[in-house]
Amino acid sequence: MDAFLLSRIQFAANISFHILFPTITIALGWVLLFFRYRFARTGLQKWIDAYMFWVKVFALSFALGVVSGITMSFQFGTNWPGFMEAVGNVAGPLLAYEIMTAFFLEAVFLGIMLFGARKVPAWLHILATFLVAFGTTMSAFWILVLNSWMHTPQGYELRDGVVHATDWFAIIFNPSLPYRLSHMLLASGLTVAFLIAGIAAFRRLIGDRGEAVSTQLRFGLILGAVLIPLQILMGDLHGLNTLEHQPAKVAAMEGNWETGPNVPLLLFAIPDEAARMNHAEIAIPNGASLILKHSADGVVPGLNDFVAEDGTPLHPPVAPVFWSFRVMVGTGMAMLALSWLGAGLIWRRGADALPRPFLMATTAMAFSGWVATLAGWYVTEIGRQPWLVTGVLTTEAAVGDVAAPMVMGTLMAYLAVYLFLMIAYIGVIFYLARRAAEGKSPTREDPRRDTPIAVPAE
């Protein structure tokens, strides 16, 4: 394998591992603020129990997000120096604003949020929790501005092959930003909803009858049931936006080779790029035309429109985009089914009496948000290829001059570390859940509780 392909695999491995943790912390920060606020208002033990359990998961996820994020900031230079050389004038300020307005905010107030509950007044602790949640969301905003600009660049001019910014408002509010940002924030909310429901279901299954578990089951499932229809709607709008700006990506998502009307929606197919056709199609007639154009004879772009004169494809690789898209949508449908069933069961018999098979299914779906989020990012990122910045810079032009064996060696080291950390992370979450179910405090660090956490007077 050459250094180009290895560098792509390495970047994909790093960013895939990284995004798992922000996906949790972005929404979990706000959820913690809610738990903390509910406790301050009601003084009920179940809210502070929920806060204390999830703040540990937050701290762990945050640490993994920070260290894998540091890796990302170095990867630009070690493997992709051409990126900053070509578009640094736009990417640079966006990344700088991310570090300055978000990274420091979260990192500094995290200390007060985690360890300051007894050292600072309640209002400052709640403020610190708010600033951490706000910081993670700001961080997502700036990163998604840059990512969206790479998909739908505007507000720049090229001078000697280097991008120069001309209109910052146009750069920041580029056409795909509102859709991508909303889609990602909702994805984070769903990931956290199913994680909280899944871990609470696991605790219930191993015999935890506590009130805190019922509260978390109810919270997770209802949050999921509310967010998933919004996410499906937002996904549809995002798809229409992509159709407008990156038709080749949509063609690959649909596995559609020829531009034309009455394009079916493929539920299953094996795209064959060499033969430029699909095998074993299972299709809903006119489905793709209906979804993308809202009419049965709507014209949907085909991949064959994006081929150079000499036969080189100018569209993304079809199979990975096609399949990732189906994994994402399939997971979303499973989320819809589970959370609505759960909401119905809670409505009929309450969160204390959910049937065992349902609890098992909810536990199995604990990390479903990760699957859908990763699959979604693969659709959009592989779908941008062969471009790194659409129409401005190809991925191949940005790769650095590093020997392939060196990239291979570090890739193996990263993969080994990531695999190990992933196992440790999931293992520790279930370990904490088991400890909580046994009624033990999940950490050994807790000293005697000499001063109670301040509850503001009503």
């Binding site: 230079g77 300055m100 990274f103």
Partner: protein
Amino acid sequence: MTLDATTLPVIFAALMGLSILLYVILDGFDLGVGLLFPFATPEERDRMIASIGPFWDANETWLVLAIGILLVAFPAAHGAILTALYLPVAVMLIGLILRGVAFEFRAKAPLAHKRSWDAAFFAGSLMTSAAQGFMLGMYVMGLEWTLFHAAFGLLTAGALTVAYSFIGAAWVIYKTDSALQIKAVSWARGGIWGMTLGLGAVSLATPFVSQRLFERWFSFPEVMLLAPLPLLSVAILVLLWKSLRHLPTKGDHFAWFPLAGATALMVLGFFGMAYSFYPFIVPEQLTIYEAASSPESLTIILIGTLFVLPMILGYTILSYTVFRGKATNLSYD
């Protein structure tokens, strides 16, 4: 002063320098705490971790800011430096990952795994410190991979690791009391010899391995103007050595001194380095003016920086104020 292609690169070089300096001091002491782990008992380790718990995350963020400024203000240099340092960067990153996660896992994983996470915390701290030291040496040598340069890199790797463990011990002296404080004083007494030898060797070797640096330092009248740097360093080392003979004192007076002294040494060393390399950002190859981004982009970043940097410094001070005094056991509630 106008913001143009001559002033902006200098401003950003200064900002990057400030970030690196703050990183080396702040993450220096918490890396040092990790390096001292093998010498501490399990109970002492918990206390040492408690002393850096609220800060380490923010401390590492200065590295992100420094590399971020390099990335956004000097993109050409970012690529050149990081591709040349590909392997040590990878070692450092894996070290930072191990360290950061071990910090959280050791307190949350089953008790039986705690020793392994402690070992990972030490290994991560060592990999990070040594890799940073090695990169410093390679940078001084002009980023060219030869056997001799790599050997010099190993020397600086050792020197920086010892320096970090010294400032780590100084931090523990400042933030703890009783038996652990006494132990930290003995660590610092051992560390100061290593640091003196390491700093001395690197300071002496640097001008002799590079003709340009020799001329920068030893031509007249520069040598007179620069003399305070090494003289002050020696004076601080002597004071540190004397203070360590009397610490800990009754009433805990001067427990802050080793930390302040070590910080002053790092500041002096930093200015020595800055003088040696200015105006180059890639030694002998690329100046800050050649590597800088366009003035329009730098101006946009600068405006934000002028608003945000004082706020960052402000809430960093708030955090150190909230967690001032001797470290007690950490608790989330």
